[in-house]
Every structure is written in structure tokens, then in C-alpha cells.
């Protein structure tokens, strides 16, 4: 018999345990989890084998595997686990470690660790303070107003260069980090698939596979297969489309501003090309406000669902909750910034807007290291799985 040496990565085991997989060692390999899982393929199903890999510290096999992301943490496995080993939570923890593994900066360790939270928040706080303190804007009465004394955030924090350069740079940083991460992930998955043989010859057009994956994500088909956390497919769908709505709004606002600035496009009917603030009837503003509301409701539902299902599905880790908290804060501060601005309450409006900017920066700049990264890695894994026919092209 051929000898096979397994060298367990104990550091990895400890990291998974510390990241929310605390009950990992309770697993006794009965495979109830794989059977109740509705999203796993039938061949080499998850998460039973992942539980074994994690217990034995086989990091390479785990994180260069599309399966950890094909899992949508329905938590049916956790609900039925006879040992309370919480496979759903363990895979969540493995995904966190995986994000850290593929993200190329020291920030990766910091985002998942509560003791760095204040430092991470301090970076945008100091950055934005550096814009306003020299102008003496800590005294709100010194901030210029718009027509009829209206609060205009662009006069407090100019869109160009302060907002756009800051966030443009943050977004660019995130995109570069993501690109490096998924390229490394794809490469390791390919090697691993070759080794384990379930990566039959890649077939079909990669672009077609990407298109099919996007269609699947748009419809949230996989989420709907969950049993215990069924309600989550709706709340996650709401958050998902709200984010898309806000992305469109942001692009739209850029078109308004720079279309007016550089191409001298004037106001056309209800389309208010030019500088913010935009009137509430503007379609862009309508879309933005609707998306903001949808996101606030969606993220609140996500939080409530998590608390409701905690006894069956587990409560989640710091990593999960930090992400939920940041999204919730963005929406709450965003909506209140608008409300306080319209009510013209300067004492509340400026600090709320300032906080809003801090959390938006947090979301953008730290995206490749936070749970936000799930959208990129999960989509990559889904494309890969389809590409190597890990799951049938549907």
C-alpha cells in the first residue's frame, strides 16, 4: 500500500476554531450534514469531508477547493448535526481564513480581529478630519451654506477632490487586492482539481459559464434550496439588489457631476445634471432613496433572521457581525444624513454625514479582507465549479 503522509497544520486548526469554528472537534463523521445539504453536488459532497480536512489541519485541501464557497451556509447541516459540531459555522470560519489567505496585505489579519477595530476606524476618521480641520469646519457655523441657508454637504466635504479621489483610490485598492486574490485562488483550485481528479477536463466557453453564474446569482437559486434559514433568501436578495441600486445611483451621480463639469450638459427636464444636492423628484435620487430603504430593511431582516435562527444555525462570528454592523451603519447614517439635511439641523447633519463617510470608506477599502469579499470569492468558486463540471451546467 502506498504510504501517504499527512502533515496537519495545527496553526490552521486553531485559527478555524478561533474564527467561529469552535465546535469543529465535536464532529464524529456520521455524514448527516452532507445528506441534509440541498446545495451540495452528489459526488464528493460537502461538508463532511471539509469537517475532516479542518479537524486534521489539511489547509491546502480546504481553501483551494470551490466547495467551501458553494456552501451558502443554509445551516441545515448545523440544525441536524447530532453532535452540535455546527458544520455551517465551521465552513464560515474556513471561508474567513481563506479570505485572509488570498488577500495580500496585513490588513487581512486586522479586519477579522476585534482588537484592531479602533485602528481600522481611526484611519478614515483621521483622513476626513484632515480635510475639514484646516478649514475650521469643526465649528459648523463656519461651513458655507447653499441657497436659503440650506445644508449642502458638498460645501462641507467637496465632491472633488475629497470625496471622489478618496473613494476612487479606496475602490481601486480593493479592486487590485481582489484581482490578485482571485487569480491566486483560481490557480490553486486548478492545481488542486488536477490532483484530486474531480476536476474533469474543463469544458465549454468560460464567458458562457460566467454568464450562467451571474444569472444564477441574480435569481438566488441556491439560497432557495435552504430549509432552516429559508427566509434568508428573501432578505439577502433585498440586500443584494439594494447594493446594485446604490451602485447604479453612484455611477449616475458621477455622470451628473462630470457630465455637467466637463461636457457642460445642462439640466434636462427631471434629470438634474450638475452638483449635489439633487431634488427628491430626480429619478437618480428616487432610485438612491429606494435602494437605501431596501438595504436598511434587508440588512435589518438579515440581522433578525440570524438572531431568530441562532439556536439552530449558530449565532455567527465577529467577522460576520462586523460586516452586518458596517452595512447597517452605512444605511442608518446615510438615511439620517439626508433627513437632517432636509430638516436643516446642522448640529446633527454634519456629524452624521461624517460618520456615514467613515463607514463607507470602511466598506470600500477593507472589502477584500472583510466578509464583503464573499461576493467575489463565492462568484469565482461558482464559475470554477461550473467550468470543471464540479456541478452540472444549469
Amino acid at each position: 500500500m502506498a504510504e501517504k503522509v499527512i502533515s496537519p497544520d495545527l496553526k490552521f486548526v486553531k485559527e478555524v476554531i478561533a474564527s467561529g469554528g469552535g465546535d469543529l472537534k465535536k464532529c464524529y463523521q456520521c455524514s448527516t450534514c452532507t445528506v441534509v445539504c440541498n446545495v451540495t453536488p452528489d459526488t464528493k459532497p460537502f461538508p463532511r469531508k471539509e469537517m475532516l480536512y479542518a479537524q486534521w489541519g489539511m489547509k491546502d485541501k480546504l481553501i483551494s477547493n470551490p466547495d467551501i464557497w458553494l456552501c451558502h451556509q443554509c445551516s441545515d447541516c448545523t440544525a441536524y448535526c447530532p453532535r452540535g459540531a455546527k458544520p455551517g459555522e465551521v465552513l464560515g470560519a474556513v471561508r474567513k481564513v481563506s479570505i485572509k489567505h488570498y488577500s495580500p496585505t496585513p490588513l487581512a489579519s486586522m479586519v477579522g480581529d476585534p482588537k484592531f477595530l479602533l485602528i481600522l476606524l481611526a484611519i478614515p476618521v483621521l483622513l476626513f478630519l484632515s480635510y475639514i480641520v484646516p478649514k475650521g469646519y469643526l465649528d459648523f457655523s463656519a461651513i458655507p451654506r447653499g441657497e436659503n441657508g440650506a445644508i449642502v454637504y458638498a460645501k462641507f466635504m467637496p465632491v472633488f477632490p475629497n470625496i471622489d479621489v478618496t473613494f476612487g483610490a479606496a475602490a481601486l485598492f480593493a479592486v487590485v487586492c481582489f484581482a490578485v486574490g482571485i487569480m491566486k485562488y483560481w490557480k490553486e483550485m486548478t492545481v488542486n482539481a488536477g490532483l484530486t481528479k474531480w476536476g474533469m477536463a474543463a469544458k465549454g466557453n468560460i464567458f458562457e459559464t460566467i454568464y450562467k453564474t451571474i444569472v444564477e446569482i441574480m435569481a438566488h437559486k441556491r439560497f432557495q434550496k435552504c430549509n432552516v434559514t429559508k427566509a434568508r433568501s428573501t432578505s439577502h436578495l433585498m440586500v443584494f439588489y439594494a447594493f446594485i441600486g446604490l451602485a447604479i445611483t453612484t455611477t449616475w451621480a458621477i455622470v451628473y457631476l462630470y457630465g455637467h463639469e466637463f461636457l457642460s450638459i445642462p439640466k434636462i427636464g427631471i434629470f438634474n445634471f450638475g452638483e449635489s444636492p439633487y431634488p427628491l423628484y430626480d429619478p437618480m435620487k428616487l432610485l438612491g432613496n429606494a435602494s437605501a430603504l431596501a438595504l436598511l430593511i434587508g440588512i435589518t431582516l438579515v440581522i433578525l433572521n440570524r438572531m431568530k435562527n441562532a439556536s439552530k444555525a449558530g449565532i455567527g462570528s465577529y467577522f460576520d457581525w462586523l460586516f452586518l454592523f458596517v452595512v447597517f451603519m452605512i444605511m442608518a447614517t446615510g438615511i439620517f444624513s439626508e433627513v437632517f439635511r432636509l430638516l436643516n439641523i446642522a448640529g446633527l447633519a454634519y456629524p452624521t454625514y461624517f460618520t456615514h463617510l467613515v463607514f463607507v470608506f470602511f466598506l470600500f477599502a477593507y472589502a477584500p479582507f472583510s466578509k464583503m469579499a464573499h461576493m467575489v470569492y463565492r462568484a469565482t468558486a461558482m464559475v470554477f465549479a461550473k467550468h470543471v463540471q464540479r456541478e452540472e451546467q444549469s
Binding site: 456520521c30 452532507t34 445528506v35 447530532p82
Partner: protein
């Protein structure tokens, strides 16, 4: 006054009977309290039992005869302990005996049952058939006395029995009776119940046709069972040609029974031989986490394993569904040795449900229990058999003998501060 040791035995199953007979044969006075209308407990419901795979009624009959011929043993059927007070050497116990509506004149002639207009689900056969409301629990029941089930014999139903009985054995005016006794020590042999399979919502019991429990399988295979020993599936009477055994159905599960029930692997291996002997072409699939056959029972496992028509699959069944266009059943598991999810279609599924100690649902006042409902020892109170730990019949016998020694010692040393 000669100082006779007096022992109360709660439960008249295999452990309780062994305790009673062994203690009485040393000269102690024993009172047995049994909840059912018959003695023999779970063993009386088995088709065959370990270690020799003989029908358990021969073993029980030996004990019944020892009881009949020993004046030191008194027993109360259809009775429960209501209260226990006092201490070792001086326990006061109140027993509630429920009415049987049939007295000692009964000769088991069956006339009342023939005349009886009402039927009841037959709990001896786990509801797989019915009996008349006036019934003998099973053909070799001890005591050989009929019972009238008042829950199903209402109104003037009892009058038919009264008219049919030539021996003046029917007494419809019987009332519950309180019996007060004094004993030196108490042995709790309250046994176990099959874990309620409906509690595992993924295993289909009660929703999917032809999913039964291992205790139902014993009745289905027994010559005095609902089918006369023919292993046919409940929904359409088709002889079972393929069968799947689902191990750890509730056992070793912190949400159900957080312990190994000890007997279920052996029970399924044993039941595999029932079907294999009855239908030579039949196929049996045993889905397991680990096969646990303690001690010398390992040999029995080897024997069953040698059968080419028996497949042992490592992987717990966690989903059971009805086939779309038949009464067949589909069990789903991961075959861990190949690493693939499999769905196996069979005629019938047996859930190897575990042992829930009687104390989980019905605690005797005055006896202490742990969180799972297993009875704990107290001063002068000794649990034995499956009331304190899952075990097989042979170990229950040995354990009961141990309980006898403790009970006798507690009585002998009374008043000496021990």
C-alpha cells in the same frame, strides 16, 4: 419477630423478574409492581433474543414458573408506585392498582373477547393491528387473565362480556385501589421505551409509508405477531425483498438520545437474519456510523457480514422519502467509502430507534434521575437494568443479581447505621 428482608421491585420486565426471583429464593419477601397487565416487559415483545437467538418466551416461562411456585413473591399488575417515604429498612410505599375488570376466576376461555363489540389498537404489537377491548395481551401472557380496556369499552360495551362469561370472572365495578406496604429496600427496574421515531422529522416515520421501528420489526417477525411472523410491509402486504436498517435513529444525538443505546446494532444484525432466513433472495442494507457489537457479539457481526446479500454502508441515513410512484422507500446517505451521496430504494425501512429510559417520561416519586432520565442509586434504592443504563438482556440479568445483593444488604444492616 423473625427479621425478614422485604424488597419492593418496581417493574416486572426481565430485570425486575430476575431481581424478584433471585431475592425470593434467598428467603426475602418480594413485591413486584408492574404497569402492564402482564409480566415480561420488552423481552416479551421480542421475536428472538441474544445470546442464543431463541424465542424469549421460553426464558420468561422459567421465571414465571419460579414466581408461581415461590410463596415469597407477590406481584401487582396494572399497578404503579404512587409515593415512597421513609428510609432504608423502613420504607413506606403506596401502590395504585388500576382495575382490570376481570378477577381471578378467569380461565382465559376467550368468550368475553368473542362477545366484545369494541376494538382497541393493540399496543403489544405497537398498534400494527387491533384487539378486542376485552383481550388477553398475548397468547402466553402471565398472568393468563383477560383485561378490559375501559378507554375503548364504554357505555354498555362491558355488558356483553358480563353475559358471555360463564365463570363469573367479569367485575365491571372494580375501582382503582391503593395498597400500602412497608419494605426495607427498593429496586427500580423500570426499563425503557423505544424512542419516539416521530421526533426525527427527517426520517419520515409516520409520514412515509413502510418506515417502521426495530421493535415493530420484532413484532412483525414474531409467530405471535400481527402477521403470524410473515415479514410483509404494512402498506400493501408485499413480502419484503429489500430492507434498509437505519442505525443510530435518535441515539448518539445530542438533540435526541445523547448516548449509545448499546443494543441497536445487534438488533439490526439479528433482524437481518430474520429477513434473510425468510426470503432467501432478499437484500439487506445496514447504514451505520460505527457497528458496535461489544465483546463476544463481534462474532455474530462477522457471521452476518459474510452474507453476500447483506451490504454494510458507512454513512448515516439523514433523509427518508416516499418513492414517487410506488410504496417503496428511498433512503439517502453518503457512502463514505466512495465519498458519494447515494439514494437506495427498498421495500421497507427499519429505524434502529434507541432506548429511552422510562424515567425520561415517567419518574417514580422518591427515585432520583439524571438529566437523561436514567435512575440513580439512593440510600436503600437500587436501579437495575435499562432503567440505569442501556444494556442487553444477558447483562440485565447479571445486573439484577447485583441489585439483589445490594437490596439484601440494605435490609440486613438496617438500624446499624449502614
Amino acid at each position: 419477630m423473625p427479621d425478614v428482608n422485604r424488597i419492593l421491585v418496581i417493574g416486572g420486565g426481565f430485570s425486575g423478574l430476575t431481581t424478584a426471583v433471585d431475592a425470593a429464593e434467598t428467603g426475602a419477601e418480594v413485591i413486584v409492581v408492574e404497569k402492564n397487565p402482564y409480566l415480561g416487559g420488552r423481552v416479551a415483545q421480542l421475536n428472538k433474543y441474544f445470546p442464543k437467538l431463541c424465542p424469549p418466551l421460553c426464558g420468561l416461562e422459567i421465571n414465571f414458573r419460579r414466581i408461581k411456585t415461590n410463596a415469597n413473591i407477590a406481584f401487582h399488575t396494572m399497578a404503579e408506585v404512587e409515593s415512597i417515604s421513609g428510609g432504608p429498612g423502613d420504607y413506606n410505599v403506596t401502590i395504585k392498582a388500576n382495575p382490570r375488570y376481570v378477577n381471578d376466576n378467569c380461565v382465559a376461555c376467550n368468550a368475553c373477547a368473542e362477545a366484545c363489540p369494541a376494538e382497541r389498537p393493540n399496543d403489544y404489537n405497537f398498534g400494527m393491528n387491533t384487539s378486542k377491548a376485552a383481550y388477553l395481551p398475548f397468547n402466553q401472557a402471565f398472568p393468563q387473565k383477560y383485561v378490559i380496556d375501559a378507554n375503548y369499552c364504554k357505555g354498555d360495551c362491558g355488558k356483553a362480556c358480563l353475559d358471555a362469561c360463564k365463570y363469573n370472572a367479569i367485575d365491571l365495578d372494580m375501582k382503582p385501589e391503593a395498597i400500602n406496604i412497608k419494605v426495607d429496600s427498593i429496586v427500580a427496574a423500570t426499563g425503557w421505551n423505544p424512542y419516539d421515531a416521530k421526533k426525527m422529522d427527517n426520517l419520515g416515520f409516520g409520514n412515509v409509508k413502510n418506515v417502521i421501528t426495530n421493535m415493530m420489526m420484532e413484532r412483525l417477525s414474531a409467530p405471535n405477531g400481527p402477521t403470524g411472523g410473515k415479514i410483509i410491509r404494512p402498506s400493501d402486504g408485499k413480502p419484503v425483498q429489500s430492507i434498509a436498517f437505519v442505525q443510530c435513529a435518535g441515539s448518539r444525538d445530542e438533540k435526541h438520545l445523547p448516548f449509545c443505546s448499546y443494543i441497536c446494532c445487534l438488533a439490526s444484525l439479528k433482524q437481518t437474519t430474520y429477513i434473510r432466513e425468510q426470503n432467501p433472495d432478499s437484500k439487506a442494507y445496514i447504514f451505520y456510523i460505527d457497528i458496535r457489537t461489544p465483546g463476544r457479539y463481534e462474532k455474530f457481526f462477522w457471521k452476518v457480514k459474510e452474507d453476500q446479500n447483506v451490504s454494510l454502508i458507512k454513512g448515516k441515513v439523514a433523509k427518508i422519502t416516499q418513492d414517487v410512484d410506488s410504496d417503496d422507500v428511498i433512503v439517502e446517505a453518503e457512502d463514505m467509502l466512495t465519498g458519494n451521496k447515494i439514494r437506495t430504494k427498498v421495500d421497507m425501512v427499519v429505524l434502529a430507534t434507541g432506548m429511552e429510559p422510562a424515567g425520561a417520561s415517567n419518574k417514580v416519586k422518591g427515585v432520583k434521575y439524571n438529566d437523561d432520565g436514567f435512575a440513580l442509586a439512593g440510600p436503600g434504592i437500587f436501579p437495575t437494568g435499562c432503567s440505569k443504563n442501556p444494556m442487553d438482556v444477558a447483562r440485565s440479568g447479571q445486573d439484577a443479581t447485583g441489585a439483589v445483593i445490594k437490596a439484601i444488604a440494605a435490609g440486613n444492616f438496617k438500624g446499624q447505621g449502614r
